[in-house]
Amino acid sequence: MQLITVGGPPACGKSSVILKTIQHLREEGRKVGVVKFDCLSSQDAELFEAAGFPVLTGISSNYCPDHFFVTNIEDCEQWGRRLGLDVLISESAGLCNRCAPHIKGFLAVCVLDNLSGVGTPRKVGPMLKTADLVVITKGDIVSQAEREVFAYRVRQVNAKARIVFVNGITGQGSWELSRLWREAPDEVPLTGGKMRFSVPTAVCSYCFGELRIGEEHQQGTVRKIRLPEPETNAG
């Protein structure tokens, strides 16, 4: 079974891109399933089910979504194997820009959309930096110049990834993307493997449900903004 990790900011078109692309894979006789990681709720499962793809939804809820991903991906893989899938797509939404749902040895995809503006590639961190493939969506509604500048900025952050433009609505570019997914590494052992990027050190009192504000409630690993020195009045 091939496992492909797909990450990207909210509403950038991940599900649409996945849906269009896996239809091409299915046409070739491959059995494809999707596991959808989300934070609070997700209706996307219905989309995939309606199209006839098996789907598993994992809601991280009050647990850190990145930790949730890494502690559950093995079980999801087992689920995929039980169903006899050839390809399992892991779609992660709701991750913060600090993290990346990407695993060494597996095809890693980052989806970004042109509408989010040319500043986005610099704001999205490891999810983009550690990806093998960057899919850029919504190119049909911005100018050619903005598409080119956006791709240039992606390239500045990730020098190695392949950049593909896909229209999630019409599916333009999804066939090309499916060619690249078809070549994803197969039968890579997941257990004992490694994430491409660490998940955050997040063991402060707020991780355990603290709500109160104030220094006395802040325990564990706490990080502070460095404020400029207050100006002193001369004389």
Binding site: D140, S143, Q144, E146
Partner: protein, 342 residues
């Protein structure tokens, strides 16, 4: 790790590069004069190192990639998004939606204007997508694309940035909150042009020339009218986009001099593919491809009769434009104003 202890000038350059690299990776700026990544990493407080998610090895590997990229950007014939120079683009025949073979192999050369006609869903987009992904008999149409007689190198395919086609369509808008001049300069900088300022001036002049209503470099791009936006996109694609092929999908009628736009692309040596239902534009091409049921079913070169039809339609169009302008500026019109159209 790159060795970077040569002349003071080289040190200064290495300094800015390290700074730029660290900024891209959301890391604090290095202390002044610091050029070694090891020294930087050692000096970083442990919390920063921990929070960055990096190790020194990973950071060093990324920095090497970053420097390699900077090198290749400095080399002008290998700048970002630079598509190969095209002397000849060949599209070898495939088949239609029922598997029936196409009748035509097509060759396109720089400076050519080719119109695509056919109803929605006939396969115009697939034809263009075949060119964009440089199909090798592996797309649904079975077409094959050759550049200068050769199939493209494997690594170039499916890669959006080395794609060959720039697109301008009705749906496109500017979304950036910048002035026209800032916007063009940003695009020019991404191309690593030697004199971005001069190019920006040329693009602006060409865009204003094509647009009915004047605007300048200080106008916000989001404030431009439909015609002005389209004119700016066209001029930008002609001068600043590295793509050798331009696809134009229905440039709207009002507010942009379409013939001048086509001439601009021809002068810049682009291959222009025009998907249109506008009769004047459809007759403006060197050829037009008729697309039906997923295949090119006919290739028509305008004959003198069609050239005359085009010329007369253009005169009618000018009459309509004259009336439009008169009304727009608050004037009255009379039958004499359209006498030429009779």
């Amino acid at each position: 790790m790159n060795e970077m202890k040569t002349s003071p000038a080289a040190d200064a350059q290495a300094d800015t590069r390290l700074g730029a690299f660290l900024a891209l990776n959301h890391l604090p700026a290095p202390a002044e004069g610091m050029v070694s990544l090891e020294a930087y990493w050692e000096a970083l407080p442990w919390e920063e190192r921990e929070a960055s998610g990096f190790s020194l090895e990973k950071l060093a590997a990324d920095f090497r990639d970053f420097l390699a990229r900077a090198e290749s950007e400095g080399d002008s014939c290998n700048s970002f998004g630079q598509a190969p120079a095209i002397e000849e683009l060949i599209v070898l025949r495939g088949h239609d939606k029922n598997g029936q073979p196409e009748q035509f192999d097509l060759t396109f050369r720089p400076g050519e204007v080719v119109c695509l006609v056919g109803p929605t869903g006939a396969g115009k987009s697939r034809f263009l997508a075949d060119i964009e992904c440089m199909a090798q008999g592996d797309t649904p149409t079975g077409r094959r694309v050759l550049i200068n007689g050769q199939p493209p190198a494997g690594a170039d395919r499916f890669s959006g940035e080395s794609g060959l086609v720039a697109q301008i369509t009705q749906n496109m808008n500017f979304i950036m909150d910048l002035t026209v001049a800032e916007f063009l300069l940003m695009h020019a900088e991404s191309r690593a042009l030697a004199e971005p300022g001069k190019t920006v001036e040329r693009v602006l002049a060409a865009a204003v020339d094509m647009a009915g209503e004047p605007f300048n470099g200080q106008t916000q791009v989001t404030q431009l009218s439909g015609g002005q936006s389209r004119a700016l996109m066209i001029a930008d694609a002609a001068f600043l986009s590295p793509k050798p092929i331009v696809l134009i999908d229905e440039i709207e009628n009002a507010g942009v001099d379409r013939q001048r736009a086509l001439r601009l692309f021809v002068e810049k040596g682009k291959i222009v593919l025009l998907s249109t239902h506008d009769p004047i534009l459809a007759l403006s091409g060197d050829r037009r491809l008729v697309i039906r049921n997923g295949a090119v079913t006919d290739v028509i070169e305008p004959d003198p009769g069609e050239a005359e039809v085009r010329a007369r339609l253009a005169r009618l169009d000018a009459v309509v434009a004259g009336v439009r302008e008169r009304l727009r500026t608050g004037g009255r019109v009379s039958p004499e104003d359209i006498a030429e159209a009779d």
